[in-house]
């Protein structure tokens, strides 16, 4: 990477390095404000956060927020990124001109060891003592001159959450930039992967420096101890966690509803306006049925994503996430999942898209992939319209045992089937496919901190923006392709059957018919399932179109009732149950597959997901249909 010569006078590049939970992201947000960009590093599923700011002397500085690590000895893809960028060997990434090691001033020991390791890289290095105000408040006295002299590295105190808290850092960056412009190049890189003995040696050195430069707190943090006594209590802690989760689930499910209805109404109005303003034709169909319906079906999830990430970031900033993982580790571990997997999986009950995005809280790649792969098995809200339609058309509305409604029981059974199959698939993946690589559960439980509002807003905003950009491009493309398949070729003049019947999707439906006959699907179901790929609930509207009840795009109450009657007459109970079983497993959501492609940065994982879910769906439907048929429900 030596080919890219840094042009220091114009845009020095700095990289933020530090332990996890050291307030590195808060400092990054304080430095860059809204001038930041979130994307993925080329070729890996690691989030790349870059921003820029201007120093008091008017220098424009590029800053890169690297994943947190305890050592340059990388153990996860995230830490590999940190190592490779720091060492200047990351493909397509310019070498940083200055490394800023960010430290939590109240917890210096491990970060000083990292500083000693970073020094070996030979690149200009600066230690930022973040949360300096909290340290001072606790009576921790840090002799900055001494610390700097012992480490051989400039040290500046910072307070990321306060307005002028980064002034010293900015001033220092200006000085360093001037020095760098004059100097030839960085010193020799003598870093190599430390052995256990070298790690011990740097620990001893860090201890020695702390003894010399830091006075222990006079007012230690007792809040963390007190809170942990309750929050990590084996029984009370789990109950509190379940309450928090229930509250989150409720919030994502119900608070988002008005906003989602509003967005949906907005897009419907837009489509109606275009339908009125443009002459009929394929371009209008593309815009309304493809683009607007497609974009609308994605953006409608934005409120859920905003609410979900508000909760996740609050819990993360507060320091609760590692505690929750601690409490859930044994339970999730039974299925071979990591303790942190439960938040993404819970979110997937609302929608697998935010759920899959939330898997970023899992550091280990395999744990994360296993979670991503089972997330769509959780019963998402888009399945509810389909479940409701079929259950109310086929399951008699009566009570069982005097208390439970039979329809409710069937609904519960479908949810349970989703959860059980997710645990089973995760178990198979982690215990049979990726055997022998059980990742250790080893994480710091940071001190609790009051979340910072600015940080929260920035975090949610960058997630929302990334969602719209990432999901928008890929998923929109897929929606356009599905629209194309469902609309071309158009119906011949004087056709009596619905137009979709003549389209490629219709033809595919007819071709696939022999394949799905064993699971009891008729061709109408098959054809409806194809546009249902756009979003699961679209299958309901598509069934309406195929059975020619309700007009184009009609999804009103009376249409659904009419459709229920039609289905009740033309399907057998076995077919209906088979379709329900299908919907538990089937990869009926192009958006989810698109997000998986974005998140894993490969086509391999969405294809594997599609394959295994399709297989499960077919087997489940086959079994359901034949058992139901043998019971005489055909």
């Amino acid at each position: 990477m030596n080919a890219i010569a840094p042009v220091l006078q114009t845009a020095p590049r700095i990289a933020l390095v530090g332990n996890p939970n050291c307030g590195k992201t808060a400092l990054f947000n304080a430095l860059t404000g809204s001038r930041q960009k979130v994307a993925n590093y080329a070729g890996v599923t690691v989030e790349r956060k870059e921003g820029s700011f201007t120093t008091p002397e008017g220098r424009r500085v590029q800053v890169l927020d690297l994943p947190g690590t305890y050592s340059l000895r990388a153990r996860s893809p995230d830490e590999e990124v940190t190592r490779d960028v720091v060492l200047g060997r990351f493909k397509g990434e310019a070498e940083p001109d200055l490394l800023v090691c960010v430290a939590d001033a109240t917890n210096l020991r491990l970060v000083l060891r990292l500083v000693l390791e970073l020094k070996q890289v030979g690149r200009p290095l600066l230690l930022a003592l973040n949360m300096f105000d909290i340290a001072r408040h606790r009576g921790i006295e840090i002799d900055i001159g001494r610390l700097s002299a012992e480490l051989g590295v400039p040290v500046v105190p910072t307070v990321a959450v306060r307005k002028a808290g980064t002034a010293d850092l900015l001033k220092h960056i200006d000085t360093v930039a001037v020095e760098l412009a004059g100097a030839a190049s960085a010193g020799a890189n003598t870093w190599h992967e430390p052995s256990a003995e070298e790690v011990r040696a740097t620990h001893r050195e860090a201890d020695r420096i702390i003894k010399l430069a830091v006075r222990p707190p006079t007012k230690p943090d007792t809040w963390t101890t007190r809170l942990d006594a309750v929050l990590l209590n084996p029984v009370a802690g789990l109950l509190i966690l379940l309450t928090v989760l229930f509250f989150m689930f409720q919030a994502v499910f119900t608070w988002a509803q008005p906003a989602m209805d509003g967005i949906k109404a907005g897009f419907d109005a837009l489509a109606a306006w275009i339908n009125g303003a443009m002459p009929d034709g394929i371009l209008r169909s593309l815009i309304t049925d493809g683009v607007i319906a497609g974009v609308g079906s994605i953006i409608v999830f934005l409120p859920q994503i905003v609410i979900l990430f508000t909760f996740i970031i609050l819990l993360e900033d507060f320091g609760y996430m590692p505690r929750a993982a601690f409490l859930m580790d044994k339970i999730m571990g039974g299925a071979g999942l990591h303790g942190r997997a439960f938040i993404p999986l819970l979110s997937s009950f609302a929608c697998a898209i935010p759920g899959i995005m939330a898997t970023r809280v899992i550091d280990n790649r395999r744990d994360r992939l296993a979670t991503i792969m089972v997330a769509p098995l959780m019963t998402c809200s888009a399945r509810i319209p389909v479940y409701t339609l079929i259950i109310s058309a086929f399951v008699p509305d009566r009570t069982v045992g005097g208390v439970f409604s039979l329809q409710g029981l069937v609904m519960f059974g479908l949810y349970a089937a989703g959860i059980l199959s997710a645990l089973l698939v995760a178990f198979v993946m982690r215990r049979l496919v990726w055997r022998g690589t059980v990742e250790p559960f080893l994480m710091e439980l940071p001190a609790y901190k009051v979340p910072d509002v600015k940080n929260l807003v920035m975090g949610v905003w960058t997630r929302a923006k990334a969602f719209l950009q990432r999901a928008g491009t890929t998923i929109l493309s897929i929606m356009i392709l599905i629209w194309f398949l469902s609309s071309f070729p158009g119906a011949p003049a004087g056709a009596t059957d619905p137009a979709i019947d003549y389209s490629i999707a219709g033809m595919v439906g007819h071709w696939l018919q022999p394949l799905v006959a064993p699971i009891g699907f008729n061709w109408q179901i098959t054809v409806a399932l194809i546009p249902g790929m756009a979003a699961r609930e679209v299958a309901v509207a598509a069934l309406g179109t195929v059975y020619a009840v309700g007009g184009a795009g009609g999804g009103g109450e009376e249409n659904v009732t009419a459709l229920m009657d039609t289905l009740g007459h033309s399907w057998s109970l076995a077919t209906a149950l088979s379709l329900l079983a299908w919907y538990v497993f089937a990869p009926q959501c192009a958006s989810t597959l698109g997000v998986v492609r974005r998140e894993t940065n490969s086509l391999k994982w969405p294809l594997i997901m599609f394959g295994y879910m399709l297989t499960l769906a077919y087997l489940a439907s086959f079994a359901t249909y034949h058992i139901a048929a043998s019971l005489g429900w055909a």
């Binding site: 153990r75 620990h203 580790d329």
Partner: protein
Amino acid sequence: MHLSSRPAVSDAPAPDQDALPAPALTADARPLSRAAKGEVGRVIRVGLDGAPHDSLDPDELERRLLEIGFVEGARVEILHEGLFGRDPIAVKVDDMRVALRRREAEAILITAWQQPDASGATPRAVAEDRRS
């Protein structure tokens, strides 16, 4: 959050800093994985001395434990235990808190904690004397 409650090394610089620590097996030495809630101990050995471990390469496990603060001489205290099988455990390591499974805690050998000035020598110095 305490800083530097651990006795410092400068009191007794070890002459052979790169030598493998000899397993300082005293009578009450036992793995952290068998410690109960409330127990306080001192780490006397990190790593399995090459013995196989069922989750990670033993050398890798040793380095990870070291990097997160489990280092010879550190004071450890079991703060909390999980509900099922009393696993995982939350441990106070010097001035920070770490969560880990008992399976990984097997690789950490501890003895009962004594006050640093109990015998005139600091526990760290004792650990290092044994090493030489």
